[in-house]
Amino acid sequence: MVTGKAKVMKGCDAIVESLLKEGVDTIFGYPGGAIMPVYDSLYDYQDQLKHVLTRHEQGAIHAAQGYARVSKNVGVCLATSGPGATNLITGLADAYIDSTPLVCITGQVASHLLGTDAFQETDVLGVSTPVTKWNFQITKPEEIPGAIAKAFYIAQSGRPGPVLIDITKDAQFGSLNFKYNKCLEIRSYRPVPSVDLEQVKKAAELINNAKRPMVLFGQGVILGDAKKEFKSFIEKAGIPSAWTILGVSSIPNEHPLNVGMLGMHGNYAPNKLTSECDVLIAVGMRFDDRVTGKVSTFAAQAKVIHLEIDPAEIDKIIKADVAVLGDCKSSLSLLTQYVNSATHTNWLNKFKELDTEEYREVQQKELIPDTNKKITMAEVIDALSVKTNGEAIMVTDVGQHQMVAHRYYQYSSWKSNVTSGGLGTMGFALPAALGAKLAQPNREVIAVIGDGGFQMTIQELGTIFQYEIPVKILVLNNEFLGMVRQWQQLFFDKRYASTELVNPDFQTIVKGYHIPAELVDKREDLSDAMDRFINSNSSYFLEVRVGKEDNVFPMVPSGSSVSDIRLK
């Protein structure tokens, strides 16, 4: 226990002091009646705590998510009661399913008004319970330091997640004897199960006897900070390794054992070969249905080893023959000790053969299309990838452009992917990118967004302008809700119900926010425009008109087995 000296102060000051004790220097938020005492305190703490005023609470929470995803910090956001708090819900759900550590503080009406339908009173605990790792309502000032300490501990320990603290206005106004002790344990909560050596040995034995082992890795590698441990493991055991959308950037794409993306729009080889491997090693991933396709046939022939921090994930979707609970940083390093050095050249070559097929059937056509065709999304991402050496932090929205960005960007740096994976939240990327840029000011941060999703949180251009956040915004404009249109084309007889967008002039809008903007419609203009985009020291908006009815392939139709992946 770290104990400090007690000091009498107001609840609202105690909230800010508590944040400082947790090392917070940036928060995102939006003021309103029930949180005004805290805003009043923030006025006094301006040089210690930067508050970023977004243009919508959803923007604040996505920005906090972006901030958390590329740093080791908890994202913090602040909102008022009622509508302020309910505007956070999408972000909470997103952070919950993607295991992002957040602490959200919401103001609440005074405690004597709870349950009276007072102005802007919403049952925020009730509404947020299903989408938070933990939530708590503070009605007395003296509860503030303890609850905030607990919130930070819970948000970032074990499998991370969002936490919400609802604080009544009287608790903010009241005073307390402030003393801050960081929370180091909660008796009912064991965030990191200890690794069972017997299970590790069993896993190693399966791996050592495998002829065609394959690793599927998820965000657990990044969340577990297991960069070295993961690399050593796959290199020693010589195992081809494929990533889920949240796993990318755990090892560089060009690593010889990185065999690409799993899932519905992933690469051909890893999808096909999950049906041929004999031992499947899942590391920090949860077998989302977008990855497994039809569960009953998924890797049915293989023995499954599951390295996972959350016991509730074991056997949830795919039964594990050997479950290794624990932090993958520990379990991977133990496992590496017990596996034999191996190479699986023939097996790895199978991936290469299928890669060649995918290149011939899909990628080549996307990257070098007929000259009479409109620009493809793949060409744009490829140019971006080459010109940034794959080193940028890629923040992607949801839809076709997201899939194409993950398929064609050659991620070369650790922890460079911010996307809404589990929830698929359109509107995520713009605010998440500004948050990511504030966390990593020295890295290039690029938001890749569709014309649909851009308009879901377009108002955050105001935040980017006000705080001069040099985040780059790439909009791939196909004048459609492209991904939905693709499904309509393939599975609903081309009945394009409400997917065509009649868009405003984005150039004018962005310029209205005083952000330099450029539009590319012709292939020959792309390269130079991309240079200006990347070389700009300020924020920059690049809109590229792409083929209106282009599709993303390969594709595992929903409900099909991954081995039935279609190349066209």
């Binding site: 319970t129 933990w134 708590f136 309502q137 509730a312």
Partner: protein, 178 residues
């Protein structure tokens, strides 16, 4: 195969935990057949007893999800053979029916029930037992003009000798080691 399972959950005493636990069921479209909650033998630790009718695979997943909640100390499930369990039921009968002959008294005795209270217009009968037993008494009394009936949720104690106090001690010492 679907079967009856009793889930026992030990928790800290916190507002909102009830919602967190019941959400685990409702989110998976599982009906809770009965639920009771009260303080356990350890001060400040509450004990939920829930009954569900599901496949074992499902109850395992449900228990893991409950166990995962921050303020849950422990969640377990049992089949009926592994526990001793009871429910209590109360039956309200008009006093004139009760005193107009010996029949009701016979029924009460035959079912090992007892008269709990006699209050002005009515009599309250109490019966403790398994659901089938309290139901049998209900069926027997109903024709006589039962005017009120209530049955509690199940309470259950697992047969193996494990003490909650020891478990909590273990929890606290394992945390201190880490």
């Amino acid at each position: 195969m679907k079967k009856q399972y009793t889930i026992i959950v030990y928790t800290e005493n916190n507002i909102g935990l009830m919602t967190r636990i019941s959400n685990v069921f409702s989110r998976r479209h599982v009906n809770i057949e009965s639920i009771t909650c009260s303080e356990s033998e350890v001060r400040g630790v509450h004990r939920f007893t829930l009954v569900v009718h599901v496949e074992e695979e499902k109850v395992i997943k449900i228990v893991k999800q409950i166990d995962k909640q921050i303020e849950v100390l422990k969640a377990v499930y049992h089949v009926n053979d592994e526990i001793v369990y009871q429910e209590v039921a109360l039956y309200k009968i008009p006093i004139n029916v009760f005193s107009s002959g010996k029949e009701i008294e016979h029924i009460v005795r035959a079912h090992y029930a007892r008269v709990l209270a006699v209050k002005g217009q009515f009599v309250i009968i109490e019966k403790t037992g398994h659901k089938e037993e309290t139901q049998e008494l209900f069926d027997a009394l109903n024709p006589y003009g039962l005017i009120g009936f209530v049955r509690s949720g199940r309470i259950a104690i697992p047969k193996p000798m494990e003490s909650l106090k020891d478990y909590i001690k273990d929890l606290e010492s394992s945390i201190n080691q880490n």
